[in-house]
């Protein structure tokens, strides 16, 4: 697999002016659509997680004619619901020196200086509005006895700015957005399509004009036409097979858009979350995250000696290594996720892992329980402790939890400009589906912030600037050849899977693909491994095309058929991920190349060579994508080596 350098330039459309005024100036300078004209525009929103539901609801409130699609049985099932810990906002309610600039600074630094200053500043700025909006919707954020909002601390920050709703913040925020969405469905501004999966994008004359979907119950392939298409379809961590993502989370919508011309940025920037329950056996279907908020009170340690088989309560303090506190005294257990994950890997690789498979480290609450009492700990983390016990059959009030890193979030995604538009005019990408704000590593409690910022407060303004050109233009009819051709391709793919008549299940291939990626493009990467993966993946992919077995028909609910298309797209994405990781000869955030590390084993960035966004263009040949570099310029923050010591 090789790549070429594209001759194309990317215009990120960053507005001029001082950092703090860019967004205000931009909102004033872009074009608007008059309230009475909004209903003449049809907008498709794909996905109903935080970004999709908030965007669809807000566009509906504004008066646009919205159609929203979810492959679930209800918009409320989207995987945003599983986010546990919280949502960041620079409210400074706790008087500890927080500010929009500090949140901006922490996010740029946490992302290891691989994100755009203007986007991140805007994110920090609108974080304030998000908390207001969600509170007004009735999201039951945690409160103090005076009735005011409580905050907790998260990794990568030295202020307490994370708003939370027990360990179910994502659920409560998503239900808020879902309720706002259903209010618009009832009002008739939004039409909701359930159990309907987007399988391709339709582009005509260079613009996104609609999508082709499959009804997951009847199998009907249908075209939907619109003036603009918004993808809020989440991330691609399930490419690893074992991840903390929901089982159905996939890259298909984004990947199909990529194949139709949308550049895909920084695919190798994937996040491995440090606190997940270690794998217990070969049959495991997914990994379960334990919120990062646990690191507020839990202390992470391993035995000092390798192969120490004593149970944790029999290992005295002097034989324990609280390695994060030792290595990073300033941030301690609250270092960013990538740093915490790699440290855990080093411990396990050194033979200090704990648990039956020696594949975890301890997260110990005994000191916190002594200091604060069991009731306080139960109030803060009760539901997480219960979940842990249900899965492992161990009681974390008595025995330290065992945790290990797992794929969790993907910073990479569809390239978007400041307006959140992809390289295809009329196609937007929001939330985890885009690449925009987290650079090479996302800070905890920032995903919820970004999804809602994009959906409630950014896209609803910026989309008008594009639509203003098309006032009075009808949508492209769905019997146009542009739609017919894509429908035929989709039907061809489906019958291809059903007619392969192979011997192995889709899951088998997915699991094998995941193993290759985890071994060679996971928590740490090197040239040799990546080249090996780039040789192994195409071979496995050929086998998939030849030997996959999908039973049943298209004309009924067929979960194997749904998975086949998703895994097919994961195969192509996986190759681009490895190529991107191979080409980026530096370590940054979640992308750790073993060849580029400091003497202490920390990530070594190479700003002179790699301070750019790697946006990959589809060339028609999956083995030869084209690279476009968007240089990153830092005017307000000076890139430095991240130090959490």
């Amino acid at each position: 697999m090789t790549y070429t350098i594209s001759s194309r330039q990317l215009d990120s459309k960053i507005p001029g002016g001082p950092l703090e005024d860019k967004w205000e100036n931009h909102k004033f300078s872009i074009r608007l659509v008059n309230p009475n004209n909004k209903r003449k525009f049809k907008i498709i929103v794909v996905g109903t997680g935080l970004a999709g539901a908030s965007a669809a609801a807000t566009l509906g409130e504004l008066g646009y004619n919205v159609e929203v699609f979810t492959f679930h049985d209800s918009p409320r099932r989207a995987h945003s619901i599983a986010a546990q810990g919280g949502i960041n906002a620079a409210k400074n309610y706790h008087n500890d020196g927080d500010s929009v600039f500090r949140l901006f600074y922490d996010t740029i630094k946490g992302g290891d200086y691989r994100s755009r200053e203007a986007n991140v500043y805007r994110l920090a700025d609108v974080s304030l509005n998000i908390i207001d909006q969600c509170t007004a919707q009735g999201v039951p954020f945690a409160r103090e006895y005076g009735g005011y909002l409580d905050n907790r601390s998260f990794g990568g920050a030295q202020v307490s700015r994370t708003f939370y709703a027990r360990g179910q913040t994502g659920q409560q925020l998503l239900l808020g957005a879902y309720q706002a969405l259903l209010r618009q469905v009832a009002a008739g501004t939004v039409k909701l399509h359930r159990r309907t999966e987007m399988l391709d994008l339709v582009v005509k004359d260079g613009r996104a004009v609609g999508i082709v979907t499959r009804d997951l119950i009847s199998g009907e392939i249908r075209s939907h036409s619109a003036h603009a298409v918004v993808l809020a379809t989440g991330g691609y961590a399930n490419v690893f097979f074992l991840s903390t993502n929901a089982m159905a989370s996939n890259v298909t919508a984004a990947w199909r858009a990529h194949r139709r011309g949308a550049a895909f940025a920084n695919p190798c920037f994937t996040q491995i979350h440090p606190t997940c329950i270690p794998q217990s056996d070969e049959f495991q279907s997914k990994l379960t995250l334990m919120s990062e908020s646990l690191r507020n009170d839990g202390r992470i340690w391993v035995p000092k000696r390798a192969d120490d088989n004593r149970p944790p309560d029999q290992i005295p303090e002097e034989d324990r290594d609280y390695y994060l506190e030792r290595m990073y005294p300033a941030f301690g257990n609250l270092v960013p996720r990538d740093v915490a994950s790699r440290a855990a890997k080093r411990m396990v690789d050194a033979g200090k892992g704990v648990g039956p498979l020696k594949n975890g480290v301890y997260l110990d609450f005994s000191h916190a329980i002594e200091r604060l009492g069991i009731d306080v700990i139960a109030d803060r983390y009760g539901n997480l402790f219960e979940m842990y016990e249900r899965i492992t059959d161990e009681n974390p009030y008595k025995v330290p939890m065992r945790i290990y890193p797992a794929p969790h979030y993907t910073m990479g995604g569809l390239w978007v400009d400041y307006n959140l538009m992809t390289t295809i005019p009329g196609l937007y990408a929001l939330g985890e589906a885009n690449f925009s704000d987290h650079g090479a590593n996302r800070l905890g409690a920032s995903a919820l912030m970004q999804g809602l910022a994009d959906g409630y407060f950014i896209l609803p303004y910026t989309i008008g600037d594009y639509l203003a050109d098309f006032l009075g233009d009808p949508v492209v009819p769905t019997d146009d050849p542009a739609f017919r051709e894509v429908e035929d391709e989709v039907r061809g793919r489906i019958s291809g899977y059903l007619n392969t008549g192979g011997t192995r299940s889709v899951d088998w291939f997915h699991r094998e693909l995941g193993k290759i990626l985890w071994d060679h493009c996971g928590m740490s990467r090197n040239e040799e491994g990546l080249k090996k993966a780039l040789a192994e993946i195409p071979a496995l992919y050929e086998e998939f095309k030849r030997d996959v077995r999908v039973l049943g028909t298209n004309e009924s609910l067929n979960q194997s058929l749904e998975k086949a298309g998703r895994v097919d797209d994961f195969f192509e994405l996986a190759q681009l991920m490895c190529l991107d990781a191979l080409h980026r000869e530096e370590s940054a955030g979640g992308h750790f190349r073993e060849e580029y590390q400091t003497e202490e084993g920390e990530a070594l960035r190479r700003d002179d060579l790699f301070a750019y966004v790697a946006a990959w263009e589809w060339t028609g040949n999956p083995q030869a994508p084209a690279l476009i570099k968007e240089p990153l310029e830092f005017e307000y923050v000076t890139p430095s080596t991240r130090s959490y010591k």
């Binding site: 409130e61 679930h72 049985d73 209800s74 409320r76 099932r77 989207a78 995987h79 619901i81 599983a82 207001d132 909006q133 509170t135 007004a136 919707q137 009735g138 039951p140 954020f141 409160r143 103090e144 006895y145 005076g146 009735g147 005011y148 909002l149 027990r166 179910q168 659920q171 409560q172 239900l175 879902y178 309720q179 706002a180 259903l182 209010r183 469905v185 359930r194 119950i217 929901a246 089982m247 159905a248 056996d281 049959f283 495991q284 279907s285 997914k286 379960t288 219960e386 979940m387 249900r390 899965i391 059959d393 609803p460 299940s505 899951d507 077995r549 039973l551 609910l557 979960q559 194997s560």
Partner: protein, 254 residues
């Protein structure tokens, strides 16, 4: 572990269903119930038989997608646990386990263990929200909410919309689901402006799709989030009040 499964198989809504028996051998006690079904499905595919369709997604007990009747109990024998978090260690080697879709007229079967729960969305559409357009919210700390109120509202808001309460109810009533949302919003100061209208609209929409509550209490026991039937009492009280409330006087607290 070796177990015998009797699983409801039904091709589609308009076709008759039947129980099919499967011997599932060599199961690990640390597998979740759904991982056991994954293993069975892999074996079925290998034998050329179509796998069992079941709804599932997050496998962390929060998305509300999963849920089957296990030996006649919604989500199975472990209290406060969704099907995805139930583990095989809760069963014994040699057990026979009966697996069925949710039993409720309002949740028609789509295929095998998958049912259509869209009637729940209809109840939310009727008023399960606070009408606040994006951008019109005041500063979040302008509305203090006593901690006890916020905590109780949260207890109600924890509902995952799985439908176990309906499946457990002899009448197929959705009162626990509806009450959980009514209570979440009616308890909070932000929800007061629409309190009476919301309660009437949601209760009456619920009645269009679901059976009536006769206080059996099975729903509370089946709920994987342990939502209390006290909320049903709160909803009933608010529904009765809603019928006599003079809404022009809403701003007065009594």
């Amino acid at each position: 572990m070796n177990i015998t499964l009797q699983v409801w198989r039904q091709e589609s809504a308009d076709r008759p269903g039947r129980f099919v028996t499967y011997q599932v051998t060599d199961i690990e006690p640390d597998m979740s119930f759904l991982e056991m079904l994954d293993v069975l499905n892999e074996r079925l595919i290998a034998q050329g038989e179509e796998p069992i369709a079941f709804d599932h997604d997050c496998r962390e007990g929060i998305c509300g997608s999963c849920g089957v009747m296990i030996d006649g109990l919604p989500h199975g024998p472990q209290l406060g646990t969704a099907t995805c978090q139930l583990h095989m260690r809760k069963f014994r080697d040699g057990d026979t386990i009966v697996v069925e879709p949710w039993r409720a007229a309002a949740f028609p079967v789509i295929k095998d263990l998958v049912v259509d729960r869209s009637a729940f969305d209809k109840i939310i559409e009727a008023g399960g929200y606070i009408s606040v357009d994006t951008g019109s919210a005041p500063d979040a700390n302008l509305i203090p909410v006593p901690k006890e109120v916020a905590d109780t509202a949260f207890d109600a808001a924890a509902c995952i919309g799985c439908g176990a309460c309906v499946a457990a109810c002899p009448n197929g009533a959705a009162n626990l689901f509806t009450a959980a949302k009514v209570a979440h919003l009616n308890l909070l100061p932000q929800g007061q402006a629409e309190r009476w209208r919301r309660t009437e609209a949601m209760v009456e929409t619920m009645e269009q799709y679901f059976g009536s509550c006769t206080n059996h209490g099975e729903c509370e026991k089946a709920c994987p989030k342990g939502i209390s039937i006290d909320f049903i009492a709160m909803m009933n009280r608010d529904y009765a009040k809603a019928k006599v409330k003079n809404r022009r006087l809403l701003s007065q607290s009594n």
